[in-house]
């Protein structure tokens, strides 16, 4: 059976005052696919995924997730959607006042299959096992390195076993080696859980490892689209600048 689209955006517009960020952005994310949106800083990449998850509202256009129009969603509908869509924040957004275990248990408070603490602990251990950091369960986020924090944030995103994961600049602020480790981990997770991933990035190393398809966001629109191999051979100077 053909893969179905899980996210479809059509003609999405978003402006902050006179600064027009998205100007009719169209794109599709298919099941079990890794799509990278490549663009310069401030080009509206993060704004796009925040519109998808409901943290921002687009000025115009349509965003469909699992076939449902999310621009018209109310809070309750977003709560249901968010159990199926994970979000990895650029800054990791780990709760400073909570241990790693409490950070991972937090999303389970609303969505856990059982309120039984044992079940929660199993899920936490499984998520930590996926990122290879079981030993950090009782540590505080401030005791962890940048790479470890990113992994813990990824474990927290995975704990509800989402069908789509949105990654906001997953390798920003990491050294190249750790960045590659995180990129490979993202790929492993996608294979293990068959998730679809939408990755916002300007890190070509990450793009090369994880992308099945790349969408280049320039001037608020989907300027170019293709595989990594196709885009590095592009003669368009605006596209080439990302790969030089």
């Amino acid at each position: 059976m053909d893969a179905q689209p899980v996210i479809v955006t059509q003609n999405v517009f978003k402006a902050f005052g006179k600064n027009k960020v998205l100007q009719g952005f169209d794109f599709k994310l298919m099941e079990k696919e890794n799509v990278v949106i490549l663009g310069k800083s401030g080009s509206g990449k993060s704004v796009l995924i925040k519109c998808i998850i409901g943290l921002m509202k687009p000025d115009a256009g349509s965003i469909k997730v699992f076939g449902e129009e999310v621009t018209q969603f109310n809070t309750k509908q977003f709560e249901t959607l968010r159990a199926k869509v994970g979000f990895l924040f650029q800054s990791n957004a780990l709760y400073d006042s909570m241990t790693v275990r409490e950070n991972l248990e937090f999303p389970l408070r609303r969505h856990a299959v059982s309120s039984d603490g044992t079940n929660m602990l199993d899920l936490v251990k499984e998520a930590l096992g996926n990122v290879g950091l079981e030993h950090t369960i009782d540590m505080m986020p401030s005791d962890l390195s940048g790479g470890m924090r990113k992994r813990i944030a990824l474990a927290r995103t995975l704990i509800l076993k989402p069908r789509i994961i949105l990654y906001d600049e997953p390798t920003t602020g990491l050294d190249p080696i750790t960045g590659k480790e995180i990129s490979r981990l993202m790929l492993d997770i996608q294979k293990k859980y068959n998730t679809a991933s939408l990755i916002i990035s300007h890190d070509v190393n990450c793009v090369k490892i994880v992308a099945n398809r790349i969408v280049v966001l320039i001037d608020g629109i989907s300027y170019a689209e293709g595989t990594y191999q196709e885009l590095i051979q592009s003669t368009d100077s605006k596209v080439k600048q990302f790969f030089d």
Binding site: D96, P107, R109
Partner: protein, 255 residues
């Protein structure tokens, strides 16, 4: 004052009022974040106890020492316990405690929520299906509203003990005589308005701290500004509430 400044002030006041009123709408609806509320009660109440208690003791002692010469000059030094206790319980201790809390709690909440905002922790909470207003704001406002009167009552008691020591520095008064003199003049009309206004002090300090932190912008610089602004606005709010409370007590003849 420029018209723009007035507009900005009124706009900010409107947003703060709207933000504070949301507390009542969100607060009554389940789910109730009991654990977080209890944690905030511990931070806001228990962890402020030493500071407000010591301050209350010093204020009681100092007011008594400084009042003594004037009262001695008029030959009314035997009234010292009753006069000092009324001024401490009615006005000085509630306001001083609220001002200390405006500094300690207001800045703490402003900085904590501000840093959570700029590091996307509030967004992360929303994405994970938790209403951040309910989890972060309702719990903090409720904790500060309920803890401030308790801090005031404790400080009242400690300040009266400070005043007892102050009285005994110049003369010898037994504890039972001192207590009798204090409670002969101190009545419910003195105690209740001071406790009643403490609820409003607590609500204002919590709401302003949360509002400033929750709406922080411009990164880490904004966090500092939010904490600072929370203290300034909460301090002003304490004096404003005190003024309104004094007028209300006067109008209702609660004296």
């Amino acid at each position: 004052m420029k018209i723009d400044t007035v507009k900005v002030f009124l706009n900010e006041l409107g947003k703060l009022t709207q933000f504070s009123l949301r507390f009542f709408l969100e607060g009554i609806k389940p789910r109730y974040e009991f654990n977080e509320w209890a944690r905030q009660c511990f931070f806001i109440g228990y962890q402020s106890l030493l500071l407000t208690g010591v301050t209350g003791f010093i204020i009681g002692l100092v007011i008594t020492i400084q009042s003594h010469p004037s009262m001695e000059a008029f030959g009314t030094e035997s009234w010292l316990p009753s006069v000092v206790s009324v001024s401490l319980v009615r006005e000085i201790v509630p306001v001083i405690t609220a001002l200390i809390c405006a500094g300690k709690i207001g800045s703490g909440i402003g900085a904590e929520l501000g840093s959570m905002k700029v590091t996307e922790q509030i967004d992360a909470m929303e994405v994970s299906g938790t209403n951040p207003y309910k989890y972060l704001v309702v719990t903090r406002i409720l904790a500060s509203t309920l803890m401030l009167p308790l801090l005031v009552i404790t400080s009242d008691a400690i300040s009266l003990y400070g005043a007892y020591i102050g009285v005994n520095m110049k003369q010898v008064v037994s504890f039972s005589l001192y207590t009798n003199q204090v409670f002969a003049k101190l009545n419910f009309g003195d105690v209740l308005p001071s406790i009643f206004k403490s609820f409003f002090f607590g609500f204002a300090i919590g709401a302003i701290g949360c509002y400033k932190g929750y709406n922080t912008e411009h990164g880490t610089e904004g966090v500092g500004r939010a904490a600072n602004s929370a203290v300034v606005v909460a301090t002003f709010a304490v004096f404003l509430i005190d003024l309104i409370a004094a007028q209300m007590a006067d109008i209702l003849h609660i004296t």
